[in-house]
């Protein structure tokens, strides 16, 4: 049975891991390759790098980070942020990444998902969806709107419809972030996750709002997520990957044990 994945996410700015509240008050937290290796050793099932470098010249730096990480962390690596073409994706994969995640670029040019999936396979194409709750109208179901540019820009897209479309276009995985919960440590938006996960066959990665192990369990049990991503609770050493997996295992979820049974 497939294990439910636990994925630490590292925000990378100009080749360094930074932390802050969504693009502001950034502080340098170290070398991405070194941190990725540490997380892999501690039981991370996958690593996500989110490149938040504003300047386009940062691309070469990011490729170097990916190259160095691929030689040290022997788990799947996903890179998101700033990839806008098939050629740019090829460069990231050639540097050693396994998947590339598209967010704003996919909303702006949905055919990019199809082109990249056609070239590298759907398994390498992740569509990241940042969603925000819309005011609920009396008697109607809850809906969410897709936002881009790190939440700064609204679109007219319904998040669930966009998720279905992204899968049709070629996305092999969806990384769903609740912008209402992101950075708040108030738990994942399990309603949003379930609304999407119950309607697609591809894996859904829950993101935005983790405060502790119980939230990971809820994201899978209530949100029907296949994987759960978090940043700050791991970076701040509030919880280890092992403690999160222990809680998931205790809830009866299949996880890859951290203490790898290698003699």
């Amino acid at each position: 049975m497939l294990a439910r994945r636990v994925i630490p996410c590292l925000d990378v700015d100009k080749g360094r891991v930074v932390k802050g509240t969504r693009f502001v008050n950034l502080t340098d937290e170290g070398d991405p390759a070194e941190l990725a290796e540490r997380y892999a050793r501690e039981g991370a099932d996958e690593i996500v790098f989110l490149d938040i470098t504003a300047a386009h010249e940062g691309r070469a730096t990011m490729l170097d980070v990916v190259r160095r990480t691929a030689g040290r962390a022997f788990v799947p690596l996903t890179v998101g942020g700033g990839v806008r073409s098939v050629d740019e994706m090829r460069d990231v994969l050639r540097a050693g990444a396994d998947k590339v995640s598209f967010n704003t670029a996919a909303v702006a040019a949905p055919e990019l998902l199809t082109a990249c999936a056609g070239r590298f396979g759907s398994q390498a194409v992740v569509c990241a969806i940042d969603a925000r709750r819309l005011p609920r109208t009396e008697g109607a179901a809850q809906t969410w709107e897709v936002v881009t540019h790190g939440g700064r820009r609204a679109t007219d897209l319904d998040a669930v419809s966009w998720a279905l479309r992204a899968v049709e276009l070629g996305a092999g995985e969806l990384l769903v972030t609740s912008m209402d919960r992101d950075g708040t440590q108030s738990g994942f938006d399990t309603e949003l996750l379930a609304a999407i996960a119950s309607r697609v066959r591809v894996p859904v990665i829950a993101s935005g709002g983790a405060s502790g192990p119980a939230d990971f369990v809820a994201a899978v049990c209530d949100g029907k997520a296949d994987a759960v991503l978090a940043a700050s609770i791991f970076h701040r050493r509030m919880y280890s990957i092992a403690s999160v997996k222990a809680a998931m295992a205790a809830a009866g979820l299949p996880v890859r044990p951290v203490a790898e049974a290698v003699a």
Partner: protein
């Protein structure tokens, strides 16, 4: 290979795989790695790794284009160590249902689509259950998790070559071996400690093979492949 030196592994490059991760994985466990995009580059290697992602038919076309099909067959028929990974495992068999391709025919059976799979492709970490003890899995606990990315898997015609199975809807063969020919459906280079241990075990098998075959000339071709007993 000179005693005490690193085993020299040739990774077959036929344009159908990303070689970065497998190169890193083999180097991490102590191999000397060369990338072989043409038959001549295989000479001097102690063992061969056949990677691969994508579809079987195009993989075979790429191998043919580069003149690698017969050298690869000769290599295996000469009993020299070879590890197939993912698609590189599948094409060791007779044929594949993926694009109705005829494949290398080095192991009996055909590659079929995963049936009753709750999700396709099968992507992620899944448990590998031993069908029999095998040195490739030395020191790796039965049921350890490995990383998979695939929609097809080989169905060997001979149960005797099956090394492990994995369940995704129903069990499929996740590792097989016959003599010095090994194949795994998962990606050891992406499977953390368990994966690195498997690659390290492969190197030890290569080393043992080299020690027992010191008289075999490097790059030797099988005298008569037709005489090979399947």
């Amino acid at each position: 290979m000179i005693a005490g030196s690193k085993p020299r592994i040739a990774i077959l490059d036929y344009g159908a795989a990303n070689l970065v991760s497998i190169t890193h994985g083999l180097v991490a466990v102590g191999a000397d790695v060369v990338v072989a995009a043409e038959p001549a580059a295989m000479a001097g290697a102690d063992a061969l790794v056949v990677p691969g992602v994508g579809a079987a038919a195009s993989a075979m076309a790429h191998l043919r284009e580069r003149g690698l099909v017969e050298p690869l067959r000769d290599w295996v028929r000469a009993g020299r160590p070879c590890l197939g990974i993912c698609l590189g495992f599948q094409i060791l068999f007779d044929a594949s249902d993926e694009g109705a391709a005829e494949t290398l025919g080095l192991l009996p059976g055909r590659t079929v689509g995963l049936r009753d799979a709750p999700t396709l492709p099968h992507i992620g970490w899944n448990a590998v259950q031993a069908a029999r003890p095998h040195p490739l899995f030395d020191g790796i606990a039965d049921g350890s998790y490995f990383y998979f990315v695939h929609s097809f898997a080989p169905a060997p015609a001979d149960d005797g070559i099956v090394v492990s199975r994995t369940n995704h809807g129903r069990p499929f063969v996740s590792a097989a071996a016959r003599g010095s020919l090994y194949g795994v459906q998962f990606h050891p280079e992406k499977s953390s400690e368990a994966g690195l241990r498997l690659l390290s075990n492969f190197l030890r098998l290569v080393d043992a093979n080299v020690q027992t075959n010191v008289s075999a000339p490097v790059g030797a071709r099988a005298a008569d492949p037709a005489a090979e007993v399947a």
